[in-house]
């Protein structure tokens, strides 16, 4: 238990020490999205009748920030330890692979949630959003952060170099988040792309998360919870199996 807590503390310290880069900067990025998209699209897009576009945008941006930062945290921390070789200290220690996984995922989710909270607070200066069902907000925030945290562990283990990680980020994480309805409702998409979006787990995270704010969503939050929950369990099982085998960590 102390081993797990130490690893968790180390992972938190790691991003907190450079909080300007890891927490403040992503908040500013999300704010820029909000300003630009709400300015350009506010008059053209109306997703739900009684929700202004700027308000509609907020949950999507918050969730996107949670996901991207959770992923960035575990993946970059792991690859950094691999490249510097300091991963050896964790591998030598009597820490179980489950504790290792839990510490990385928890720290990643925490960073995601901190950034998400920051984005939410900053957007309050521009628009108010309702908080119809806070429990859904919390559930999807936690699950989203944990899921991308565990995906980050997979990417960090798999990648040997930083550019492989960048590829993972550019060709998987970014398209999944951008094509998930952050900036629009998928109902405004042509049928083909709407169908494609239904295969994107991130769509369900954002849709369920948004339901917590407006009590309005494209699909039932229970369905979203089921999809996201199953994805999280599957990804976690894969991560744990890779760690158990020592894939790319123990020769």
């Amino acid at each position: 238990m102390i081993g797990f807590l130490t690893l968790l503390r180390k992972e938190i310290l790691r991003f907190w020490k450079v909080g300007f880069q890891t927490v403040a900067a992503p908040v500013v990025t999300a704010l820029l999205y909000l300003l630009i998209f709400s300015h350009v699209l506010a008059d053209h897009v109306r997703v739900y009748d009684d929700v202004p576009y700027t308000a509609f945008l907020v949950p999507g941006l918050v969730m996107m920030s949670i996901l991207q930062n959770a992923f960035a945290n575990s993946s970059s921390s792991l690859i950094q330890s691999k490249v510097t070789g300091s991963v050896v200290f964790m591998l030598l220690a009597p820490i179980s692979y489950r504790a290792f996984w839990a510490a990385y995922v928890a720290a990643a989710a925490l960073r995601g949630l901190l950034v998400g909270l920051g984005v939410y607070l900053v957007t309050l200066a521009f628009t108010g959003v309702r908080l119809e069902a806070p429990l859904w907000i919390l559930v999807f925030a936690l699950l989203g952060g944990a899921m991308l945290g565990t995906l980050g562990v997979i990417a960090g283990i798999w990648a040997d170099k930083f550019d492989q990680l960048a590829a993972f980020q550019n060709f998987l994480i970014m398209p999944l988040t951008f094509l998930s309805g952050v900036f629009y409702s998928i109902h405004s998409l042509p049928p083909f792309w709407r169908e494609v979006s239904h295969w994107n787990p991130v769509f369900y995270m954002i849709d369920g998360f948004r339901h917590g704010f407006f009590a309005l969503s494209d699909v039932s939050p229970w369905k979203s919870l089921a999809v996201v929950g199953v994805c999280f369990v599957l990804l976690s099982a894969l991560t744990l199996e890779l760690l158990r085998r020592g894939y790319k960590l123990r020769m």
Binding site: R9, T84, L92
Partner: protein, 243 residues
């Protein structure tokens, strides 16, 4: 009583390289043991297998009677390894590094022992310095400190003195000798054979993944020398005779 280290029939291949070609070895508790061999002999691979960093293709390894795979937590608790590579986490200070290290092994408050290690390794003045700012020799000393943070009964040092200045080397050996005197088992690899001759009671010489000589230091000097030989001459003869 089980030996501190037991290696039985361990083989490991990396692609075309047979890094370990069937190693059998026992090191008793309290020994000061030397593992010698030319570059690429397999010393680091053997240590890595003992530490669970490398999974052998066949064979078994135990630390203080605990199998390093099946009972990995106990085995790792009993083992402290100084890696050969100069690795460090650039995010932390020396003291933070050692506190984190202690926590990994389940030790919450360890500052008294940490201070003692730092003093013995002449690092007290650098305790709050960031790892990044240390010289190579100082980083090496922190690696030694990290391996000792949880007071492991078995301490394995993979070339601990590479790049370390004379004065510190002597200080390091004093400290390690003291730990050995208190009952810790020491396993050492080094290319400075006079160090091995001075410190080690027993020595294994490796070549191409095999142990080609294994005896007390005194016996090795007797067997492969004429009474005036040093360990370096003995080592050269062993290597020449081994095929």
């Amino acid at each position: 009583m089980s030996p501190a280290i037991r290696v039985a029939g361990v083989a490991k291949r990396f692609g075309a390289t047979q890094a370990l070609a069937g190693i059998d070895l026992e090191v008793a508790e309290g020994e000061f043991f030397g593992l010698l061999g030319p570059n690429g002999a397999g010393k680091t691979t053997l240590i890595s297998a003992l530490a669970g960093l490398v999974r052998p293709d066949s064979g078994h390894l135990e630390v203080m009677g605990h199998d390093v795979q099946a009972d990995y937590r106990q085995a790792r608790l009993k083992l402290g390894v100084v890696p050969q590579e100069l690795v460090f986490d650039p995010f932390f200070s020396v003291r933070q590094t050692l506190r984190i290290q202690s926590g990994y092994y389940g030790i919450r408050r360890n500052d008294d022992w940490i201070d003692e290690i730092l003093a013995n390794l002449d690092l007290t003045g650098k305790a709050e310095a960031n790892m990044r700012s240390l010289s190579g020799g100082m980083k090496r000393r922190v690696l030694v400190a990290q391996a000792l943070a949880h007071k492991p009964p078995v301490i394995v040092l993979d070339e601990p003195t590479a790049g370390v200045d004379v004065e510190l080397r002597q200080g390091l050996w004093r400290f390690i000798r003291r730990l050995n005197g208190e009952g810790h088992t020491i396993v050492l690899t080094t290319h400075y054979l006079e160090e091995a001759e001075a410190e080690c009671g027993r020595i294994a010489m490796m070549k191409s993944g095999r142990i080609v000589a294994l005896d007390t230091t005194a016996n090795l000097l007797r067997r492969f020398g004429d009474g005036t030989t040093n360990l370096e001459d003995a080592f050269m003869r062993v290597m020449k005779e081994a095929v």
